[in-house]
């Protein structure tokens, strides 16, 4: 039980990552796959953020004089996650644009039918 308590954020983030990977690999609808990409990226972001967590830590901002840095959570993963969220947003926008175009050409969003180019 304490294992679950100590590592709950990591377990949750891996759950999200595995869910995202499952969706991308198994689902045939293009929009579902794009949602899967988004869930995968969210899972990775949660993993990164939980790396910086400290018990009873506070925000890494020197908001009062005399605040010491040892009770603060790590600000580096927070910067990484901000960048990663923005990158994920750009990829999602591009993916949805391509999905609109693909629907216009193929008439369907079923990935099994969007398969003009084979061997």
């Amino acid at each position: 039980m304490t294992f679950l308590q100590n590592y709950i954020y990591y377990i949750a983030s891996f759950g999200l990552v595995l869910t995202g990977l499952y969706i991308i690999m198994v689902k045939k609808n293009l929009i579902k796959v794009i949602l899967g990409i988004s869930i995968l990226e969210t899972g990775v972001n949660v993993f990164l953020i939980s790396l910086g967590y400290q018990e009873n830590g506070t925000a890494p901002i020197f908001s009062r004089i005399g605040l010491s840095a040892n009770r603060m959570t790590d600000p580096v993963p927070q910067a990484l996650v901000l960048t990663a969220i923005v990158i994920g947003l750009a990829v999602l926008a591009l993916a949805l644009t391509l999905a609109i175009r693909a629907y216009r050409y193929f008439g369907t969003l079923n990935l099994m039918k969007i398969k003009d180019q084979k061997w």
């Binding site: 790396l51 993963p77 990158i87 591009l94 993916a95 391509l98 175009r101 969007i114 061997w119």
Partner: protein, 494 residues
């Protein structure tokens, strides 16, 4: 004047990035002038890179962004390998930008040039950076620009290829970020030299999981064997200039990132046989799939997969000579494959079809373009007066000098794959020159600005093929930069 002006390596990244942001503003004033910006930018980059080569060889240039000391700052490490590859990116960027001046004339051409500048900014950034998250950011800039550029022509094949590429590329990027998270959580630093120092002092077993995630993530862009399903569609549906840049630069930069991870950061010497097998498998499968193709650009795309396998094989032999051979093969593959894709672009425009059979007799109608294509083929296959011979020969010689039976068997596979490569390429040459055309193609005059890069690439391939000694010194320094972990750590952290 006796003092030489030294440029800062940051300019190699800053110039194309600034031009990419200025292009839309310039496009508001006059759409026709945006296409000259990439040409100017990469000409400047070539000059900067050439002026930095002597200085990078004598001592690796470490640029500390923001002025903080190394473990805390994001730093650029412009060593011989980094500057050589950024020189390659700048020259290829310049030549292909020159080619695109007249090749790309659709609506929205200014968007093409913005994306093109961003793609090469990302590539230069990956090659020069010394911080692992900075690698991820530049890698993403590279990948996202290439997803959009593959779909640039907007036709059915391009959209399908871009969708598949995007899905696989996003999975790769997420895995890469996961691996970076593991590394940061374990080592506490994002600086590549800092991580290398930490890993050197701990047991290698616990680094297997981050290694697996990072290599898989980067391997999707580098197109090593099980992860290359996106490549044939993407490179064959993209505009010819973008195919040249993707095959010549993007996948090689991905492979460079893999190599940097393996040698410098993780330093795993026991896993190199695995990568040797992976390289040879990629090579053999790429060449065999290319053999069955009827579509010219798809055939060239599979050939790119094969060449990446060859470079991975060369580098995983782990001697300094072999790594130098691998880097030389990177250079010759870029020159040869770019030449092939650029000439194929106009050949396809002339006949209106991608099929090899439709190029019958085009050797008579477009003599210079066909000559360029033939030179590219001979260089890639590895025939003597061309650059590809020098690079392949140096790889085989490095492989045979190891004296290991297992390596001899792998070299046998490599040479067999070269024979298969020769067979399908020579079939195309036979169709071009020795068959007669039944129907005449469109009379298309190739503009001078598209012909110039083709002639320049031919000249480069022949000159370096005849005098490979020009590059030997530089290649050995670059190989030393990659293979020597201790020197890298010492030059960054002091």
């Amino acid at each position: 004047m006796n003092e030489i002006i030294y440029f800062n390596p940051v300019l190699l990244i800053a110039v194309p990035l600034a031009l990419a942001f200025l292009s839309p503003l310039l496009g508001l004033i006059s759409k026709k002038s945006v296409k000259y910006l990439p040409v100017a930018g990469f000409l400047a980059n070539t000059g900067i890179a050439v002026s930095l080569i002597p200085r990078a060889i004598e001592q690796t240039i470490v640029v500390r962004i923001g002025g903080f000391p190394p473990p805390f700052c994001i730093n650029l490490v412009a060593g011989p390998a980094g500057i050589l590859l950024s020189f390659l990116i700048a020259v290829t960027g310049f030549l292909v930008a020159l080619y695109s001046l007249r090749y790309i004339n659709q609506d929205g051409e200014e968007k093409y040039h913005v994306l093109y500048l961003l793609l090469l900014t990302g590539a230069t950034g990956v090659v020069l950076t010394g911080d692992i998250f900075n690698l991820f950011v530049f890698f993403e800039i590279l990948c996202i620009s290439s997803y959009a550029l593959v779909a640039f022509f907007g036709h059915k094949a391009g959209i399908e290829a871009s969708v598949k590429y995007l899905i696989q590329g996003s999975v790769g990027s997420s895995l890469l970020l996961l691996g970076i998270g593991f590394l940061y959580g374990r080592t506490g630093t994002l600086n590549m030299a800092g991580i290398a120092l930490f890993i050197q002092n701990t047991s290698p077993g616990e680094m297997l999981i981050p290694l697996f995630f990072i290599i898989t993530g980067l391997g999707i862009e580098a197109a090593v064997f099980p992860l290359n399903a996106w490549l044939p569609d993407a490179h064959s549906s993209a505009p010819a200039s973008i195919s040249a840049v993707l095959s010549g630069i993007a996948i090689e930069v991905g492979l460079y990132a893999v190599i940097r991870m393996l040698f410098t950061i993780f330093g795993v010497t026991e896993l190199f046989p695995v990568f040797m097998v992976l390289g040879v498998t990629t090579l053999v499968i790429g060449e065999m799939c290319a053999f069955t193709q009827q579509n010219l650009k798809r055939m060239l795309a599979f050939s790119s997969i094969g060449q990446i396998g060859l470079i991975l094989f060369a580098v995983s032999l782990a001697t300094s000579q072999a790594v130098a051979g691998g880097i030389f093969q990177m250079l010759s593959h870029t020159a040869g494959k770019a030449l092939l894709f650029l000439t194929a672009g106009y050949m396809i425009l002339n006949t209106g079809s991608h099929d090899i059979e439709s190029f019958r007799g085009i050797g008579r109608r477009m003599p210079l373009i066909s000559l360029g294509f033939t030179a590219g083929v001979f260089s890639l296959v590895g025939l003597p007066p061309f650059m590809g011979f020098a690079s392949k020969f140096s790889i085989i010689r490095a492989a045979l000098s190891l004296g290991n039976t297992w390596v001899y068997i792998m070299t046998g596979f490599v040479l067999t794959a070269t024979v298969i490569e020769a067979s399908y390429f020579f079939r195309v040459i036979q169709v071009i020159y020795f068959h007669n055309n039944e129907k005449p193609g469109l009379a298309l005059k190739v503009p001078a600005s598209s012909l110039a890069p083709i002639l320049l690439l031919m000249a480069v391939i022949i000159i370096i093929g005849i005098f490979p000694g020009i590059l030997t010194d530089l290649l050995h320094n670059a190989a030393g930069d990659i293979a020597n972990k201790i020197d890298y750590i010492r030059s960054v952290l002091g």
